[in-house]
Amino acid sequence: MAELFGLLFTSLIVNNVVLTQFLGMCPFMGVSKKRSSALGMGIAVIFVIVVAAFVTYALYYLVLVPLHLEFMDLITFILVIASLVQLTEMFIKKTSPALYKSLGVYLPLITTNCVVLNVCLVNIQNGYDIGHMIMYSIGTPLGFALVLFIFSTIREKLEISDVPEFFKGNAIALICAAIMSMAFSAFAGVI
């Protein structure tokens, strides 16, 4: 049990997918100008990654392994993730217009988000059992959403701060991201 929570904490904070592994940088830089968009994107990513991880894990061990088609994991996962995003968007359109208004527009962004594919592939490559898979698949998107939200609050402050002209925009944002990465690396000694 302690090991499972250790994995959750590690994937959430210590080996944060954005600040340590440098994945998901596109939405991290592109959708972090406002807290509301960051929150919407974060929730959408959490949902898609958790569902995609479960589906791809099941497909790998129930279909690919018995048929000795393990080498097709990459193409399979990509197709599954793309289909899941389409189905999720369709489901949200039909069932909850309010939810679609807040986060439906971010779903196409998630299709090409490398964090989703990373979680699916790591679950297989590290040989995780179901318990470890669940913890990793929940911790990683939570870490992504957490960092995205924190970064959005920083960027909102930067917008009204007195930043030198040549540092405005992405330049100062990247410097802040680097400092955040260094701050998060300090968690490595916790576990």
Binding site: K33, L67, L69, M72, T76, S83, K93, P97
Partner: protein, 55 residues
């Protein structure tokens, strides 16, 4: 036999994706959501459909 199974499996997945894509685009957007856009700042990838300059 393994190759055939693999080809059939991938074909099935591609078929599912195409079906989901078509169904999604046929599903009407809820009222009030016709003109919403992702609040994306836009990087240098102008070819991305979400880039503000992509039109």
């Amino acid at each position: 036999m393994r190759i055939i199974a693999g080809v059939l499996f991938i074909s099935a997945l591609i078929g599912i994706y195409i079906w989901a894509y078509i169904k999604n685009h046929k599903t009407p957007v809820p009222e009030g959501c016709e003109n919403i856009k992702a609040d994306c700042d836009g990087c240098k990838l102008v070819s991305c459909q979400l880039h503000p300059d992509h039109e």
